[in-house]
């Protein structure tokens, strides 16, 4: 066994400080991350596109030089894994779909510009469910990503590649996207932290749309400090996104305090801890609650009956928006193409779309088309949007009384391959607790709650609008008390 550099186990926040005092360490760091990738990538398969080491080293050398000249980039020298749903200039972006298998974007997403601006280095593009449609990363058009805690289990999804890249030490931090739980579910399943920010806090410019009104880009990291660091960089106003909030200069590092920054009142929702929850999950959940109570925080129980309609409402809205967002894939301007001469547009488009999209994507486009179609719009799309309103009002009301809502991130521990896919509803159920935050636009973080039978279990904290700082504060306290940070999954423990 090769002894890897000590840098590999270090967190992003710590590394940045080290690089500032000794910029030459960046090279050692990059090489050692690539050594890990060499060892674990065959097992877990996080990356769809990994940049060649020499290119990344060249980028590292540039960052080193700027650091030497006094550059103070907040991510200087860090390797960042990016979900392949976020466009990267001149770096292939596929959305894990055959229909975009060779797409080379001519522009960067705003979050990528910001990361590069702070000295971060994109290491590669990570695997996901095709067009972010899925909760297991089994729906990639290319290959499945495995959970490093148990290679027979799914890593969760759709940001499974990013979660695994971080959990398996193939990158220091990562970007995911979350439409209905796509950051939080894989974070929970792989023992890392991930946050779905308040809608509008992080620019969506360059995020390939699935459910426009629901989704946000968010950071994924092995500990709360690293998450706060990356969130501080990507959050804030962007004139290229009409839904961007006019907030600037955010620094979430200020919330990394070992004690509660206010007397948080914590609510648990009765409907989320009764039916359909695994006992192991519930046990972990209760242990986490106790940690908060030990800090002197009040925990109370509330009931939100409408929540049981959140899941169908979520899927109706997400699919409706998806059917519209995915109309543009017709093979003419980019992506999977068939020859056009002598054939009409509907023939050509139908062939491209039928061959280019995978089954789950097709299903969602068809259903989304259906719920928007004449005669069904009121019954499905409009009605779902009304449920959304009721849910929104309930949460606004609730947050006048409490500061944070906690739920298990998922009702169960990670399924084994194929388990969730046999029945579409089983797959959708994985998102039961996470979709609420997307429908209401509220921030929600998933943190490790416990490790049960060698598999991590996640805890979700939902807060009011723009309460990311407080969520981070609570997550940090929980992390200190539980010691659940920088976890090393079983499958990679021999390598890092």
């Amino acid at each position: 066994m090769i002894i890897l550099s000590k840098l590999i186990r270090k967190g992003a926040t710590e590394l940045v400080e080290l690089f500032k005092s000794d910029p030459r360490l960046i090279e050692e760091y990059i090489v050692s991350v690539y050594e890990v990738i060499d060892r674990v990538e065959d097992l877990v398969r996080s990356y769809i596109t990994l940049r060649p080491l020499n290119e990344v080293l060249a980028d590292g050398a540039k960052v080193r030089e700027t650091l030497t000249n006094g550059f103070k980039g907040r991510l200087a020298g860090l390797l960042v894994a990016v979900k392949d749903v976020i466009v990267t200039k001149n770096l292939r972006t596929t959305c894990a779909s055959k229909i975009l298998y060779d797409f080379i974007p001519p522009y960067n997403a705003t979050v990528i510009e910001r990361i590069i601006g702070e000295g971060g280095i994109v290491v590669g593009k990570t695997n996901m469910d095709e067009f972010a449609m899925g909760s297991t990363t089994e729906n990639s058009a290319f290959f499945k990503t495995r959970n490093p805690w148990d290679l027979d289990r799914v890593p969760g999804g759709s940001s499974g590649g990013s979660a695994v890249a971080v959990a398996a030490y193939e990158a220091s931090i990562a970007l995911g996207s979350d439409t209905g739980g796509s950051i939080r579910v894989p974070a929970a399943y792989t023992g890392i932290v991930g946050i779905k920010p308040t809608y509008g806090l992080v620019s969506r410019y360059g995020l390939i749309s699935y459910g426009t009104s629901l989704e946000q880009i968010g950071p994924m990291a092995r500990n709360v400090s690293d998450l706060a660091l990356l969130l501080s960089v990507i959050a804030g106003y962007d004139p290229h996104d009409s839904t961007s909030l006019k907030v600037r200069d955010l620094n979430y590092m200020e919330f990394l305090k070992p004690t509660p920054m206010k007397k948080y009142r914590i609510a648990i929702i009765r409907e989320c801890v009764s039916e359909g929850v695994d006992n192991t999950v519930l046990t972990a959940f209760n242990r986490s609650l106790r940690r908060f109570e030990e800090e002197g925080l009040e925990v109370l129980e509330v009931s939100i009956p409408i929540i049981k309609y959140a899941l169908p409402a979520y899927y109706i809205i997400a699919m409706a928006e998806a059917s519209s967002n995915l109309a543009r894939y017709d093979g003419i301007r980019y992506g999977y193409h068939v020859s056009v001469e002598g054939r009409t547009w509907d023939e050509v488009y139908t062939e491209v779309r039928s061959e280019g999209f995978g089954l789950e994507v097709k299903k969602r486009i068809l259903l989304g088309t259906f719920v928007l179609s004449a005669g069904y719009y009121d019954q499905y799309y409009l009605k779902a949007s009304k449920i959304r309103k009721l849910l929104y009002d309930e949460f606004m009301k609730l947050f006048k009384e409490v500061d944070v809502v906690v739920t298990p991130t998922t009702p169960t521990t990670p399924p084994r391959f194929g388990e969730a896919l046999t029945d579409p509803l089983k797959l959708y159920l994985l998102d039961t607790y996470t979709v609420v935050a997307n429908l209401t636009g509220l921030p929600a973080i998933s943190i490790p709650s416990d490790i049960v039978n060698d598999v991590p279990v996640g805890l979700q904290l939902i807060g009011p609008r723009l309460s990311e700082g407080y969520l981070i504060n609570l997550a940090y306290i929980h992390e200190l008390k539980s010691g659940l940070k920088d976890l090393v999954p079983t499958a990679v423990s021999g390598y890092v």
Binding site: I86, V87, T93, C95, L100, F103, P105, P106, Y107, A109, R204, Y205, G206, L207, I208, S209, T212, S213, P239, H240, D241, S242, T243, A320, E321, S323, S324, A327, R328, D330, I332, R333, Y334, V340, E341, G342, W345, D346, Y349, T369, L372, S373, A374, Y377, D378, Y381, L382, S385
Partner: protein, 486 residues
């Protein structure tokens, strides 16, 4: 065929050419004449991940039009996605507006007053939409029907359009034309649209005859062609109805070259645009304050200007209306008057001569006013008022100036157009004419009206240069001499 049997509604698409950039991205709105696909960005090319951000000036422009057309204005701007697949549409949906749950057009329920057969008519406006223009398809064979593939240029994609939809209040092709002319003039007066730019104004026309179905004619590019296409459709449909054939509810394409309408491919399923509020573009509040601010800044509109022309310049209703039907024409008129007065003479010349020739020669008015400049036109008026030329000559000079792009003076002297007012010269010619037309002279001696013939002969001999009043006077004098009366 009674006009009452015809119902016509128009859907006018006009680009807001006064904007510097497109509707949802910062690409230049000036796309004309650029090489294909050189005026696009990730947004207007519909690249994955790109997002629209609305141009605030486009909203202001739409509000100006809404106020000018006396519409009810929505208190919120909502964009809606309209879904259909077509190669010129990069996202395969158009960001537009709609009247439905969660959606509302920026303005509704307005009207335009048009002149019809000497009277006035109110044509109702159903709604005004802001929407994006698609790209442009070029057919390699020149024809949609015979091309085996298409060539797409997205330079136009995303240009800000206003869709102005009328109620089916129009009763004839002539009324339809009057509607478009009036609307065009309003848009020009608002300073929003240069309607002379190719493709800046496009019209879809709906027409139904009693007993028939609604037929839509797509993409007509001028007011003249709207009149032509509708006339063609009326003939086609009434013939069909006479022979008992069914007029199908369908969409037809106006072939501007062959001057016919042709049916477009029939779709298997009915259109289902699946409108829903665009989640990329949350509603923008339209405050009363903004509307008031725009209202205060509204420039003079055609109806007000017509009134002013009648009052200030003493023009007839007719002259004022024709002048104001095109903003450049009205501006030209006023500039000339500013330069040399004579509003009535100038009004007549601009409408009856200048405008007539410009139409006939198919020159753009904006180009023509740079050839026969106000200075030039005023020189002609000066020569007329000082009997250097006569009105007949003036009418001859105008097309020549326009055709040869020559200075007025040069033409007058080169063509030797100077009025013959010299009595000696005229008498010599009159003597010749009298000698050559003994019969006419006899007639004229009995019937004073026959004098005109002799005047005409003198004009012919002088190629119109003889001063007609003087000629008339001299002939009468000569005839009196001949008849012997003192």
């Amino acid at each position: 065929m009674s006009n009452l049997d015809i119902k016509i509604g128009l859907e006018v698409h006009t680009q807001i050419t006064s904007l510097k950039t497109k509707l949802f991205c910062s690409c230049p709105s000036d796309y004309r004449g650029k090489p294909p696909n050189t005026n696009v960005c990730p947004v207007c090319l519909g690249l994955p991940g790109a997002l629209p951000v609305v141009n605030i000036e486009a909203i202001r422009a739409a509000l100006m039009v809404a106020l000018a057309l006396k519409c009810e204005i929505s208190d919120v701007l909502v964009f809606t996605r309209k879904h259909y697949f077509y190669p010129d549409l990069p996202k395969n949906y158009q960001i537009s507006q709609y009247d439905g749950p969660g959606s509302i057009p920026i303005a509704k329920n307005g009207y335009i007053v048009i002149g019809v057969d000497g009277g006035l008519k109110k044509v109702r406006i159903r709604r005004i939409n802001i929407e994006e223009d698609p790209g442009k398809i070029v057919y390699p064979t020149g024809s949609l029907l015979t091309s085996k593939y298409t060539l797409i240029d997205y330079n136009r994609s995303g240009i800000a359009l206003l869709e102005i939809v009328s109620e089916p209040d129009l009763r004839s092709p002539k009324e339809a034309r009057a509607f478009i002319d009036k609307l065009r003039s309003i848009l020009e007066h608002l300073g929003l649209v240069n309607t002379e730019l190719e493709g800046a104004l496009r019209v879809d026309a709906n027409i139904s005859l009693a007993g028939g179905s609604r037929v839509e004619i797509k993409n007509i590019s001028s007011a003249k062609d709207v009149e032509r296409a509708l006339t063609y459709e009326i003939i086609r449909q009434s013939k069909a109805l006479e022979t008992g054939e069914k007029v199908r509810r369908e969409t037809r394409h106006w072939d501007a070259i062959r001057k016919v309408t042709v049916p477009l491919r029939v779709k298997e399923f009915e259109e289902d645009y699946r409108y829903f509020p665009d989640p990329d573009l949350p509603p923008v509040k339209i405050s009363l304050k903004l509307i008031e601010e725009i209202y205060q800044k509204l420039p003079e509109l055609p109806d007000q200007r017509i009134e002013r022309f009648i009052k200030t310049y003493g023009l007839s209703d007719y002259l004022a209306t024709v002048l104001v039907s095109e903003k450049v024409l009205a501006d030209y008129f006023e500039e000339c008057v500013k330069y040399c007065g004579n509003p009535e003479i100038i009004g007549n010349i601009v409408v009856n001569d200048f405008k007539r020739w410009v139409d006939e020669m198919d020159i753009e008015v904006s180009k023509a006013v740079k050839i026969l400049t106000p200075n030039q036109l005023c020189q002609l008026v000066y020569m007329l008022n000082n009997n250097i030329i006569n009105i007949k000559i003036l009418k001859e000079i105008i097309p020549k100036v326009l055709k040869y792009n020559k200075d007025v003076n040069t033409i007058v002297y080169e063509e030797n157009y100077i009025d013959i007012s010299n009595e000696e010269v005229l008498m010599r010619i009159i003597d010749e004419v009298i000698k050559e037309n003994p019969k006419a002279v006899k007639d004229a001696l009995i019937n004073p009206k026959a004098v005109n013939y002799l005047v005409g002969q003198v004009m012919k001999k002088t190629r119109g240069r003889a001063n007609p009043e003087l000629t008339n006077k001299l002939i009468i004098k000569k005839l009196k001499e001949l008849s012997g009366t003192p």
